[in-house]
Structures are given as C-alpha cells and as structure tokens.
Amino acid sequence: MYGNTFVTEEEAKRMNATVEDPQKLAEFEDRITSGEKIEPGDWMPQEYRKQLIRMIEQHAHSEIVGALPEGTWITRAPNFRRKLALIAKVQDEVGHGQLLYSAAETLGKTREQMLDDLLNGKSKYSNIFNYPAKTWADIAVIGFLVDGAAIVNQVINSKGSYGPYCRALERICYEESFHLKQGHDNVVYLATGTDKQRAILQDAINRWYRPLLHFFGPPDKASQHSEKLMKWKVKLASNDDMRNQFLDQYVPKILELGLTFPDPNLRKNADGIWEFSDPDWEEFKRVINGDGPCNKERLAVRRYAEEAGRWVRQALMNPTEKYQVPLA
C-alpha cells in the first residue's frame, strides 16, 4: 500500500539542471514515448534512476511498515475466517515489500541499504501508517479504504516506464484485489451487524477520513510538478486526480451502508469533482516529519525486527559468495 510520490522544489531544480548525453537521452525518451519499457542495465538518466529508487523504496517501506498497524489485531481476529484472512493479508504486505525491494535493487541500491535508510530515518514511508488501529473496526476500514486508495495509486503506477516496477505492481494489484474484497466483507458485516458493531465502524471511518485524504499527497497547486517525471512515466497522475478517483469509487460504497464521513462539505460538484473541507495539511506535514501518533513505535518495531533477526541473517551468510544485482 502506498500513497504518492512528490518532489520538493529543490529536487525539481536539480533535476532540471542535470546534463545528460543528448543522444542517449533522446533514445531513452523515444523508447518511453513509443510505450516501450525500460529494463535494468539500460542506459537511463541519473535523475530517472534516482527518482525511481526513491519512489520504489518508499513504496517498499510502506508495505513492511503498513504490516504493523494491521498486525495490531492479528492475535485478536474474532473467528477462523477473519483470523486466516488477516494473517494472509498482512503476509501479502510483507510479500509486496519483498517484491518492491527486489525491483529497486535492480537499479543498484541493495535491500540492506534501503532498510538502513528506513531505520535511520533517512527514507520515508506512507504517512497513513503512523496512525493507530484502535479497534477491530480499524482493520475493516484499513482493508477496504486504505487498500482501496493504494490500489488506485498502484494501478496507475503499473502503467509506468520501468519494467521491474511494473511487473511487481501487476502482481501486487492482483493480490490487493483480495485485500479489498476481504476488507469490504469485513466492513459490510460490521455495518449490517449490531448497534455496537456499527458504532465502532463509524468511529473508525471518522478517524481514518483525514489520513485518507492526505494519502495521495498535497494538493496539486501546492506541490512541485516535474514535467520530466511525467514525461518519463515515473509519475503518471496528479495527486488531486488520484484523490478524486478514489473518492469517486469509494465514498458511495460507504454511504450505501448508511454510514457517514465526518465532513459536511464532502460532495461531488457539477463538474464531477469531489469537494471537501481542508483536511489540515499542517498535520500532514507534522506527521510526515515524525510527529504522528505512531511514528516512534513503527520504527522501533522495525528496528527490533532488524536487530533480533541479525544473528539469523549473519549465520546464513556465505562469505565466499558475492552479491550481484538481480536480473529483473
């Protein structure tokens, strides 16, 4: 699960300043324009490589950190069906992390370097996972709406230009459709259940509404555009477009259950565009910079996993074998 990549002003400037071999660049861009994919080992502009690594790596981190809020309820799922589904679902997130780290590795950054950057706070992950899963209903809302939002983003990105990332995303999207189904199933059971079940579900929707609007990143007017990233098919849709697509698909599915969103201004206007109250972008910035309800815990748990597993990985290592960048 992942939100969206965005570029800081400084990065946008630098990107436009980098000089590349004009002939190679032209060939590279022709390839992308004609709909061909870029594969590992191809010549590519430095900025392309860099931005892709950054994006895929953040996506991978989001998967393995995203496993934690949902993991909160793994030992408490209320029956066999939910218990099996939740373990399988969280397992998939870890599997997606594995696939994405593998895709990023083909660009020349090792999994270990990426994990170190995550654990040392040098690399980000999706903001939404810094919020807590307070009740069982949060699992339903995460499974349905957070995964729903992630699918919007991932389906779009799977049409990008980098072969290994597209392949990973295709597999991921296929598995995410299970997440969405089981999340919807969970939401519907709670919504059509007892008053208490409906109440915890409504409470969870109320709490996840803003983080869901934040999920796709700041509004287009406030974020830096990179023509290059669009042209190179690294970024394929704007934050606002994706957010709108998400609202269009999922708001009706919550409303049809007689549930509400905590925003009197949420409505679709005459142009088919969803309008909503300002979701407090200052909070978004605060959380992304480390001051969210769960940032500390998420990193502490990942650090624990890294540290507690170290002896296992070290014992498995064969010092005579040399790591080589994977093929695809």
Partner: protein, 252 residues
C-alpha cells in the same frame, strides 16, 4: 469405536494446531528476513487451517458445536493442547526449534492417521501431508544451516533445544482413553509416535552437532491433555477471544 476417545484425540490435535498457529502468526511482519517472514506466516495459516478442519470433523461428524465456538469460546480447562505450543514465541531460535520438534511429530502423527479406521481423519491426514512435509523441510533446512552457520547461532539453537526438550516430550502425554484408540484402530498411540519421532529427530540433531539433553521424567511438561496448562495459555485465550467476546452473539 469409542466416540469419546476419538473426540479427545481430535480436540488435542486441533487445540495444538490452533495454539501453535496463533503463536507463530505473531512473527508475521517482524520475521528475521522478509522471505522467512512469508514462509513462517504461511505455515501459521496452515496450522490454523488444520485446527479448523479438525473442529469441522468434531462438528459435522461427531455433533460438537461449530468450529468458531470450539476454537474461540472454550475455557482454559477444556483446552487439550500441550504446554509446548502455549509458550510465547521468544526469540527466533526458540520458535525454529519448536517448529522442528513439533512438526516432525505432526508429520509422523498424520502419517499414522492416514491408516486410521476413522475415515474422516484418514482423509484429512492424506490431504494435509504435503503441507506438513513442507513445514518439516523448512525446519530441517533452517536447523541445518543455522547450526553450521555461526558459533552464536549454534549456541542459540543448543540453548533452545535444552529449553524445548522436556516441553516437546509433553506432546506425547497419553490420554485416559488411549487404549481404546489403539484397539479401535483409530490411532496407533502416543508411545509408538514418540518412538518414531525420537528415531527421526535424533540423527538430524546429531548431524547438526546439537546435543539432546538427558531426559528427566519429572521434568516432562505434562497436564495439557487433561486441561492443566502452563501460565501462558489463559492470557493467550483472553487475547485471542477479546473481540469475539465483546458480543459472542454478533456475526463477525
């Protein structure tokens, strides 16, 4: 066929599978490396699936309550799992040695049950044998490679084996109705299972240069099969049933 003896066998197998699956699912998301996280998680799901299949036989063939009630609504004293599966996951050394010792017993138990005169169990045994074979392959490969991998890893595995041994022997605690199971041809019994298990794990542990601790009969963790459990089961059940017990009548 002594129905109560058969029920007792199914309950202890199902409870073992549910509790160890539950425990091992705690590794999901925090495993020692991503690939192993996935593998361990799948095996936890398999175990919970085995528990479900066994409770289904109890429900559909032997008239007990539905599987969700059997798995999530029984009291501690009614549970028949062994102490070994109840222990917290600890560090990875404990979890992998537990898997090794427990799954070798499971594999042999299901092999024996493939010959059971109680058809539903014989059919289930044939169905799940491939899954458990993989669990054993996983455990064997890890134990072998870790034990030879570093001094620290070897010492950790040895320590875990020392801690696990008498717990593992508790798997084979006989039930009161054991002789009926053997007589009826439902199951050839814990004694035979234990002998076959010992013959299987001993050379594997020796090959990994791990020393089996001397067995002290007084230290074997008994009682689970009669409803007397370790200090860890009650909190586990409270946690596992926290959501469903907020409203057991609701559909979840």
């Amino acid at each position: 066929m002594n129905i109560n003896a058969t029920k007792d066998l199914l309950f202890k197998m199902a409870d073992d599978a549910l509790i160890i699956g539950h425990r091992n699912s705690e590794w999901t998301g925090i495993g020692p490396m991503l690939e192993e996280d996935l593998a361990f998680s799948s095996m936890a799901q398999d175990k919970i699936g085995h528990a479900l299949a066994l409770y289904k036989i109890l429900n559909e063939v032997l008239g007990e309550a539905d599987p969700d009630k059997l798995g999530f609504m029984r009291e501690e004293k009614d549970m028949k799992c062994c102490h070994f599966v109840e222990y917290p996951i600890g560090e990875y050394d404990f979890s992998i040695i537990r898997q090794f010792l427990f799954d070798h017993a499971e594999l042999i138990r299901y092999e024996m049950l493939a010959e059971s005169g109680f058809q539903p169990l014989a059919q289930l045994a044939k169905k799940v044998k491939g899954e458990i074979k993989y669990h054993v392959m996983h455990a064997d490969t890890f134990v072998k490679q870790l034990a030879a991998g570093s001094e620290e890893a070897h010492a950790r595995l040895q320590n875990a084996l020392n801690n696990c041994w008498h717990l593992a022997l508790g798997i084979f605690e006989k039930s009161e109705l054991e002789s009926d199971l053997i007589k009826d041809g439902t199951f050839a019994g814990e004694e035979e299972l234990q002998a076959r298990w010992l013959a299987k794990v001993t050379p594997l542990l020796e090959a990994a240069n791990l020393k089996i601790p001397a067995t002290n009969n007084d230290k074997i963790a008994l009682g689970g099969r009669r409803g007397y459990h370790s200090e860890y089961l009650k909190p586990l059940l409270d946690e596992m049933c926290e959501v469903v017990r907020t409203d057991p009548a609701a559909e979840w």
